[in-house]
């Protein structure tokens, strides 16, 4: 396996005069989980549909599994499994019949198909209900079958569009755990989601989309690019004289109070935190806790989207 799993270059899609996606470029390496985040109408589903060869790009190029989505669409489709926003299962057919149909379409050999269906259904804990019609299934069960359908032919790349949307917390957890299991097995996944917690938990890298790609990278790298590093210090008795004491330290770039804690900006907390602690103790402060401040994906997302909308 060589090259990149997904490669998008200047991907653009217009509907009439309106741009749904504009000049989006990103790469996804094999074995990576990549999350596309963005508000409603940001172009996440349109981007996914272009990569799945369901929509032609108006401009730009994309390759999926090494195949150009515009000139080699069938080869590209052979590489992927898609879980669309709506499960889109055949209600009057059984779970097993739904999976068998897709396995046959993808050309899974008959000798292998039955075993494959059994394996996925058992992993998703729905094997006992394989003969039931989809119409009898709950939303969560349907979503599991739809995931099983996307995996029945063992695709090299999995596209998941809002996999936990409209699921209850328990069903969401099952689906998330399953995605983590796929990730642990080295699966390559492109995930569209509104759920920032889910994206943070599951993805190696994220792309924040608002028609254009506003940011792209791992959540950690994005935070580093947007904020200087800082240490969060909780003192038993916060006092102004402690601030004066640490402001005198050469490596401290700034100090502010936030919710009774001190936020101390510095370039290299790994090296400088011991000296910071020492200075505080020497000044008579009682240090309760001290940790490097982490920015959540939600912080990153909100800052980027608000910044983009303000432009």
């Amino acid at each position: 396996m060589s090259g990149l799993a997904i490669q998008a270059r200047g991907l653009t899609r217009l509907f009439g005069n309106k741009a749904a996606v504009q000049e989006v470029s990103f790469d996804v390496a094999w074995g990576q989980v990549f999350a596309l985040l963005g508000p409603n109408g940001a172009g996440k589903t349109t981007t996914m549909r272009m990569l799945c060869t369901l929509l032609r790009p108006t401009a730009g190029t994309a390759e999926v599994g090494g195949f150009d989505v515009a000139t080699q669409p069938i080869k590209a489709r052979e590489q992927l499994g898609l879980l669309p926003e709506n499960p889109g299962l055949y209600e009057s057919l059984s779970a097993e019949r739904n999976l068998r149909f897709y396995g046959e379409i993808y050309g899974v050999p008959p000798s292998k198909l039955q075993g494959r269906i059994e394996e996925i259904l058992k992993t998703l804990e729905i094997y006992d209900r394989r003969g039931d019609k989809i119409a009898k299934f709950s939303k969560g069960m349907r979503q599991k079958i739809a995931i099983a359908r996307a995996l029945v032919h063992e695709p090299r790349i999995l596209f998941l569009d809002e996999p936990t949307a409209s699921l209850d917390p328990e069903a969401s957890k099952v689906v998330r755990d399953f995605i983590l299991e796929l990730k642990a097995r080295g699966g390559t996944i492109l995930l569209n989601t509104h759920n920032l917690y889910e994206a943070q938990r599951l993805s190696d890298r994220v792309g924040i989309l608002n028609t254009r790609l506003v940011a792209f990278g791992s959540p950690h790298d994005l935070a580093d690019r947007m904020w200087s590093r800082s240490t969060e210090v909780t003192l038993k008795t916060p006092d102004a004289r402690f601030i004066t004491a640490i402001e005198a330290l050469g490596f401290v770039k700034g100090v502010k109070r936030e919710d009774g804690r001190l936020i101390v900006s510095m370039d290299d907390p790994d090296n400088d935190n011991p000296r910071l602690a020492e200075a505080l103790v020497r000044a008579g402060a009682e240090v309760v806790s001290m940790k490097e401040r982490e920015h959540s994906l939600e912080d990153i997302y909100l800052k980027l989207i608000k910044g983009d909308e303000a432009k």
């Binding site: 889109g88 055949y90 149909f101 046959e104």
Partner: protein
Amino acid sequence: MRMGKAWIVARKDFSEFRANKQIIATLAMMPILMTIFSVLIAVPLASLASQEPPPEPDLNLNLLVFYDHVDLKDTTLNNAWVNYSTVLNGIVNVSYINNSTLTNVIAYKSLLDNVTIANGILIGCVLRNSEYTQNTTVMVDTVVSGTTTGSSDLYKSLLDMMTHSFLLYVFFIMAVAMPTTIASYSFVGEKTNKTLEPLLSTPLTDGELLFGKYIAVFVPVMSLILVAFAIMTALIDLLTAPLLGYILIPDAVWLVGVFVLTPIICIVGIAMNVYISSKVNDVRTAQQYSALIVLPVLLVFVIGPVTGMGSITVGFMAIIAIAFLGVLAFLVWLNLRRFNREDILTSWK
């Protein structure tokens, strides 16, 4: 095109149809009713047609005048014996007409022997070895015998018309009407159930998907039509052959109609349904529009014989088959142009 892929799509649709009792019931209803209807029409007519003609009545002719080799015009003939003559615009009453020609004549209780009649009305007459045009009205109390031509037997002509025109039309109409039931589910159903997006992300080509859908509709519809044809033929022949002394159907017209023209009409019906499906977004609307498809087909088979352009003959069917193949080629081209992933996801309403 990989036929195997198209067949997989078709088999999936068969499974869906089988699981939907409403579709099966709707689909089977038409051939069942048509088979019963055909038998109920053919058997009584065959029974009437097979009856012995009534004996010739004694007309009690009392011939008082004799015409031989004359041309009579605007004449009323009573108790006359007319021989080798022509009668134009007249009334013939209780007379004996022999080797003559009657035009625009009303004949009452007369014996017409070896006579040619045009535009006449025959009431209570005995008609032997004669010939009359279609514009002549032969009342049922007129007895026809000998080698008389001009559709001499009312019931036999009705039976012929029913079995060789009307019942065959019914099969053509079934071929175009029945696909509407399942084609609407097959195409619009995929759209409304949102099953198209995952299906379109598979390595199927547009042609394979479309062809699979055609097979999925064609196979059950034609199977039901052929089963209905076999049952109807068996029942009609079983019940009418002892009465008539011969097998009524199938003949060449039926065989060409059922095995050549009906499948072509069926595919045209499917292609029309596919086109309609691309324009609407719910099954019910698709079915309502599809019901209109029957009209042009009805028109072709009704206008033809009515205007004298042709009754249902092998030649007439060959002309219609060629015309329908032309329509089919256009529809398939149109559907292939319209049926692509881009349009389905963006411009299909």
